[in-house]
Symmetry: C2
Subunit: 178 residues, 2 copies
DNA sequence: ATCGGTCCCTAACAATCGTTAGGTTCGCCC
DNA sequence: GGGCGAACCTAACGATTGTTAGGGACCGAT
């Protein structure tokens, strides 16, 4: 049921998604949702929290690997994309539907979000030390590029996720000109 | 009234925005909107089309300038950001609310959207000729980075729009490492 | 055998939505 | 000065929304 909800939230956003739609996708009736969640807001928060948990898990999995230097960043980018495209609709729901939720709901997800962003800030500070450039701003640009891929990238198309991760990492580190 | 509508669509998305809200912001009643637009969908399309028109205008203004090479790209990036932050909420509405609209409404705006994207594809092909790299993919990454700024950038903050345009251009062309 | 709890149902609630019908006011034009 | 259309109003429509009340079926434990 959580998965059906996530899929709807990805495709339609928070407000446009109906509890009756989610219920039908899950093979139950709308009122039955309230046996598992106290409100639509709670259901939404549960979906987004699950999505964020998966991103952190993906991140931690790379931490245990032994890649070095540039390949290391590439592995993290690949992990981020993997959570977005390969680990169910939860993470995609977080990225796509977060901004469509009312402010009150968004605030409940921000802490988990901040935690993940902090991981990336530390990662970039670790991989690209020294220099007066603003790593926080660069991280935001990287996130913008990575997260926007859900709007156009098709993992079943010509380009593979590995290739996309490679292109993203290479472009981020060395730019579009070679 | 179009402006009030755009502001609401930016902040809340399509589905969560009520005609009664837009009407109240405009100092009229909800039913009076129907004297200017045939439906909520038409109003939304009008807002997004206006936003896209402003982006194209911004783009064309740079075309008339005489910047060369790297500075030229930077001027285009600055123009894109300018449309996003300085030319009213229409362009921001397009970027932020497009994905929150039902598919039928989105389809009506796609042509104008495609036109603008084609301008950028030509621009990049012109500025960065030769090379087997996929300019279309790189353009999507650049758009992702640029458009995501509406979610966090504050033009009244420490960093100016000029600085942000510089950082974006530099990072896109030469990467985050120097 | 019966209790408690889980899971789901039907039926309905008040609220709010986009939209329509019909009327009023105002200024412009012949 | 009579007509006309633009701009706005009030009032209401049917549909849909999130949510609640109350009940039935099944389960394992007592």
């Amino acid at each position: 049921m959580l998965e059906a909800a996530a899929q709807r939230f990805v495709a339609q956003g928070y407000a446009a998604t109906t509890l009756r739609q989610i219920a039908q996708d899950s093979g139950i009736k709308a009122a039955s949702i309230y046996h598992h969640f106290a409100s639509k807001q709670d259901l939404f928060v549960a979906v987004l929290d699950e999505g964020m948990r998966m991103m952190v898990d993906s991140f931690d999995a790379v931490r245990a690997s032994s890649e070095l230097g540039e390949l290391r960043l590439r592995a993290y980018v690949r992990a981020h994309l993997s959570a977005l495209f390969e680990h169910g609709p939860f993470t995609a729901a977080h990225v796509a539907a977060f901004s469509t939720a009312p402010a009150g709901v968004r605030a409940r997800v921000v802490p988990a979000r901040d935690g993940y962003e902090a991981l990336w800030n530390e990662l970039l500070a670790d991989l690209m030390p020294a220099g007066d450039r603003d790593l926080h701003l660069l991280r935001l640009l990287l996130f913008g590029a990575m997260n926007s891929t859900i709007e156009w990238f098709d993992p079943a198309g010509e380009t593979t996720l590995d290739q996309l991760a490679g292109l993203l990492t290479d472009q981020f580190l060395h730019g579009a000109t070679r």
